[in-house]
Symmetry: C2
Subunit: 327 residues, 2 copies
């Protein structure tokens, strides 16, 4: 008696619904328990042709759709608690759904963020995936964008700008030619675009040490501008201190890529934190313990103007485009 | 410095974010507080051309997108706590967004279900709206689909089948001709399709009196079959007792519409409950106090076979199609 939609859910998604609060996806709703902690809620959707390419592999796509939400939870200092999925599909293809669901299940298990429920609908349009993810923090302890103080250090995890370079390569841009002799380097950049590495292992350190935080999803420059705006502060960034991968560093050194492009490119899914100077060493150590670098790239300062990005001579860079906007 | 997307959020959706846990939509995430209750999570998406028509008014569309989720919360016995919204738009039109956001805000206020956050993305495809809604129930008290016992009464609220008739009229089907002299009746049926009346006022009564419940969204026959399956019971329904509106009753009496179509049509957003006989009078009274009828339409019985829909002579109706499926 099961309809096609029920079959699809039973076959591909029921195995992921390991949490008792899902009742094996046989109900209209799931239960998320709380022992009085706050539930942190975040939602991010990805659309074919906008956030991912039509020929992106289904497994990396599943990981990216979940990880962009996990990255938000990490930035808020929250432990993952679960997620719900809305999948708008043109048709049901085993060859697409099987690897998609398998990878989603692997990531859900790895990040301890179980599937709690979802809705699968048909569409004539582009494939889209919307995920609402939940995390837990002790009451009142979600780390906000607001809270950065003058004198706090501006810190980022990992390296900045790789994903936008990976996207350029996938699109057959000029970088594919410039890096023609470095297949490994190109693959590393593509991987950074397709499979973000959310910093959930650092959630507790963010909660303990950061006065404000967000993840870098739309470009460091634009995201820092938003954080400054909500915190009511400004910032000075030393561009020379922005951490770059070996690939990005070489492309900058060869004059093929400008730093502006790296700090406005987006899709980094690194953490951007305001950390008081006396906590910086502990934050760096906590990051190092998880295999991630945390780097001081500047300072917050009093003032209402947008942050400045200073070159080696201390001159502010004029950024034409801070970040991606849909409209 | 705000991008188009930020402008859109600030202009249309920030006024709806009245809950302190939203931080005025200036953060990556929202906080849903809990004093140890369970959080009930449900997600439903609607897609242009599938769940609604391209020329459906934006205000009714907003109400429907939220109300289909509110209906799930009602069926689970949960008090609304808030929702997040993913909106995939082809473009930003003031004439569409302003009434959409206004109606969404009115419903959010009316049902005490505030906007907590969301994601607005661009798409080349059909407009789609995905809502994840949250409710609260005392720990362990979510009313499930599983739980119906042999001997429990099958009860539904309101009337069944109106929305599918309204959809037929909107599509210029044969009903528009058959009802040409009854503009008021046609408008009432269209309204039932476009603006569901979720039974959230009955959530406490569902929790107190129902052993199992779900909302009727895909058609009474198919939804009852699902509830029976998960509960491990069967049911006998007396078709003559299925509550119909005056319009539906007249169309059946004139032989224009068969009862089969009404019980498999979908979009009712009424409650389907299993209620022990000794609690039925109290459930009916509770419903009446909220201005809604609750009607006994049959009994659950032991057995694993699908429910039977019996005509006036006690003969089971052969249903060709139980409910809507996307795939």
């Amino acid at each position: 008696m099961a309809s096609g939609e029920d079959d699809l859910i039973a076959r591909y998604f029921k195995p992921l619904a390991t949490d008792p609060g899902t009742f094996g996806l046989t109900d209209d709703a799931a239960v998320l328990t709380s022992s009085g902690e706050d539930i942190v809620v975040t939602v991010d959707a990805v659309v074919e042709g906008v956030h991912f390419l039509a020929d992106d592999p289904p497994d990396t796509l599943a990981r990216k759709a979940l990880r962009v939400n996990l990255s938000d939870l990490a930035a808020k200092g929250a432990e993952p608690a679960g997620f719900v999925l809305t999948l708008a599909l043109r048709d049901v293809q085993e060859s697409w759904l099987a690897p998609f669901a398998k990878a989603l299940g692997e990531d859900a298990a790895h990040f301890k963020c179980p599937l709690l429920g979802g809705d699968t609908v048909s569409t004539r349009g582009p494939l889209s995936i919307s995920i609402t993810a939940f995390g837990r923090v002790p009451k009142g302890r979600m780390v906000r964008r607001a809270g950065a103080k003058p004198g706090d250090l501006v810190m980022v995890t990992g390296t900045i700008g790789d994903a936008t370079l990976g996207l350029d390569i996938l699109g057959g841009g000029e970088l594919a030619k410039a890096m023609a002799n470095d297949a490994t380097g190109m693959a590393a950049l593509i991987d950074r675009y397709r499979v973000p590495q959310p910093r959930n292992a650092l959630a507790l350190a963010v909660r303990e040490h950061a006065t404000a935080a967000m993840d870098v999803s739309d470009g460091l420059a634009g995201d820092l501008t938003k954080l400054c705006g909500v915190s009511g502060v400004s910032a000075d960034i030393r561009l020379a201190d922005v951490p770059l991968s070996a690939q990005a560093r070489e492309l900058v050194a060869r004059g093929i890529v400008g730093i502006e492009r790296l700090v406005s490119g987006g899709d980094d899914y690194e953490l951007l934190c305001a950390v008081p100077p006396n906590a910086a060493a502990r934050f760096v150590a906590a990051a190092k313990a998880t295999g991630t670098a945390a780097t001081v790239i500047g300072e917050f300062r009093a003032g209402g103007e947008p942050p400045r990005f200073l070159d080696a001579s201390g001159k502010p860079l004029a950024l034409k485009r801070l970040s991606y906007s849909h409209f």
